[in-house]
């Protein structure tokens, strides 16, 4: 499989997962069969993890509360970063877990229905992990950009309909 072609197909899919192999083939000039094979292979080997949709839930009145939790931990011989991270990551309420540099060890993004939901989750499930020394919770008030996509619209196409 041609690496360059794989990367090009993945780039296109990353931006728009709804394109069909036929459309991707037209966009790249590759063979449709080849595109299908690339996608299949990359789904199987775990390169393509999941096809998702980026949704602005506020638009339909569904509100979620997001919080970014800075977590500081104590490491022991038995429990390293990976062990602790995995334990946190397995909760469905947890949206993301990242090992970070700086004052804290992990950045955990938690998604919940309400402020209380999130606060109790942190208090009951994260702070109580023996290796967790302390946590610092930041509630997200508004999001302006997610996954490289602007969540506000302040520019429009002002071009004339005809220009030489």
């Amino acid at each position: 499989m041609d690496d360059k072609k794989v990367v090009e197909v993945l780039k296109i899919l990353e931006d728009n997962a709804r394109l069909t192999p036929k459309e991707i083939a037209d966009m790249t000039g590759y063979d449709e069969k080849e595109v299908e094979e690339i996608i299949k292979a990359k789904e199987e080997d775990g390169t393509i993890l999941k096809y998702k949709t980026l949704i602005d839930w506020e638009n339909v009145g569904e509100e979620f509360v997001y919080a970014i939790i800075d977590v500081r931990v104590t490491l022991t011989r038995e429990k390293g970063y990976d062990d602790i991270a995995k334990r946190i990551a397995k909760y469905p309420e947890v949206h993301a877990v990242r090992l970070i540099s700086g004052d804290y060890d992990f950045q955990v993004v938690v998604k919940g229905k309400s402020l209380k939901d999130v606060a109790f989750f942190v208090a009951e499930k994260i702070s109580t992990i023996p290796e967790v020394r302390d946590t610092f919770t930041h509630f997200v008030l508004r999001s302006y950009k997610e996954e490289g996509v602007l969540l506000f619209k302040d520019e429009e196409d002002r071009r004339l309909a005809f220009a030489p």
């Binding site: 728009n16 037209d26 000039g29 071009r159 309909a161 005809f162 030489p164």
Partner: protein
């Protein structure tokens, strides 16, 4: 009040200006008015916004109150950056003193033609060509000798020489990747033009505004060929690659004597290019390579998709660059203008009739694929539908 004159009123416009036809696409403007469903493939302008870092630099410069004139030449930092940048297209060395920052390539074309032409001098213009070359040649007092390059859109040596022998031309205007055909020239094809330039002692005015948007191979400036530097005026700018159309900033790289002559005109008619735009241009060259790569890749995908779909409907040559497809619409019993008008009225898709780019463009339409993939898909569906019912 004294009543004098009056008789001259109907003839007060210069005959030269009067002889120039207004742009052929003007009438279509009225037709799209008030039609929100129109998908326009008629725009020779990128749909990407100007990269934010360019805009941010310009805003910052305004905050600092940098709003004065620059030297006639343009900002020295920008000219140095351009001199370095143009090596990318094969030109070994550019002296920043031979660069003039212009208000877009449009001004550069005007300056070059006015700097070179004596009354009656012939200028070769291979067509289909960008709309301004011919009128600006006439305005400069020259004679525009248009050369049809259909159907392959390549100005071969034989073709050019046939015309050159008849009119003893002073210059030739080339544009590649080409607006409206999207065709670019290989090094071998450029060598043919170079041979002609030497044989007939021509100055080459090379409009390379779409150089960055080259998808097949790499853009090579004709000035990089042996002996061409001393007879080539390179014109380029920031409108297409960096979407800075309304900011009006471009540049000319010319041999010293021509650069000096062009600067003379520039200093009287323009003084200098807008400083804010020059600052934006500097940032474009310094910090936007990655964004440019992404933009180029996206255009290439659109080109592949669009041309593939169009080729099911029309005879079409795969464009090498720019963001135009130029399919042949002959065989449907409609002229370019009729086709354009009916496509617009029936299906709400705006394109430009090929004859806007010269008589030999008759039988073609120009479709710009500078719209999102979704719109492009919709547009090509509508075109397909339209043609089916013809």
């Amino acid at each position: 009040m004294k009543r004098t004159g009056g008789l001259r009123l109907p003839r007060r416009i210069s005959e030269r200006v009067d002889s120039i036809k207004p742009s052929g696409i003007r009438k279509f403007f009225d037709l799209v008015m008030g039609r929100p469903d129109v998908i326009s493939l008629g725009v020779g302008e990128p749909d990407f916004p100007v990269p934010w870092r360019i805009r941010d630099e310009m805003i910052y410069s305004l905050e600092k109150g940098i709003t004065s004139y620059t030297s006639n030449h343009g900002l020295p930092e920008l000219r140095e950056e351009i001199a370095r940048y143009y090596k990318k297209f094969g030109v070994r060395y550019v002296d920043p003193n031979n660069i003039i920052i212009t208000t877009g390539v449009s001004e550069g074309i005007d300056l070059a033609l006015r700097a070179l032409i004596n009354p009656g001098d012939a200028v070769l213009i291979p067509e289909p060509a960008y709309v301004s070359y011919k009128p600006l040649t006439i305005l400069a007092g020259g004679e525009a000798v248009t050369i049809p390059t259909t159907p392959d859109f390549k100005p071969s040596y034989e073709l050019l020489a046939r015309f050159a022998k008849r009119c003893d031309p002073k210059a030739i205007v080339i544009n590649y990747p080409n607006n409206p055909t999207g065709v670019s020239y290989s090094k071998k094809e450029l060598e043919e033009i170079a041979d002609l330039a030497i044989e007939f002692d021509l100055v080459i005015i090379s409009d390379e505004i779409y150089a960055e948007l080259t998808y097949s191979g790499k853009h090579v400036s004709i000035a990089s060929l042996n002996g061409m530097e001393e007879r080539t005026v390179i014109l380029n700018g920031f409108s297409k690659a960096f979407a800075m159309t309304g900011l009006r900033v471009g540049y000319a790289i010319a041999p010293p004597d021509i650069a000096e002559a062009m600067l003379k005109i520039h200093q009287y008619c323009m003084l200098c290019a807008p400083i804010t735009s020059q600052i934006g241009a500097l940032e474009a060259l310094r910090g936007c390579e990655e964004e440019l790569d992404n933009i180029r890749a996206e255009y290439m995908r659109r080109r592949n998709f669009f041309v593939k779909r169009l080729s099911n409907i029309f005879e079409i040559r795969k464009p090498d660059g720019a963001f135009y497809a130029f399919p042949k619409i002959e065989g449907y019993g409609l002229s370019s203008e009729e086709f354009t008008e009916r496509l617009l009225m029936d299906k709400g898709v705006a394109v430009v009739p090929g004859n806007a780019f010269g008589d030999c463009g008759e039988g073609y339409i120009r479709c710009a694929y500078a719209v999102t993939m979704e719109k492009l898909k919709e547009a090509v569906d509508r075109i397909e539908d339209f043609v089916k019912n013809l």
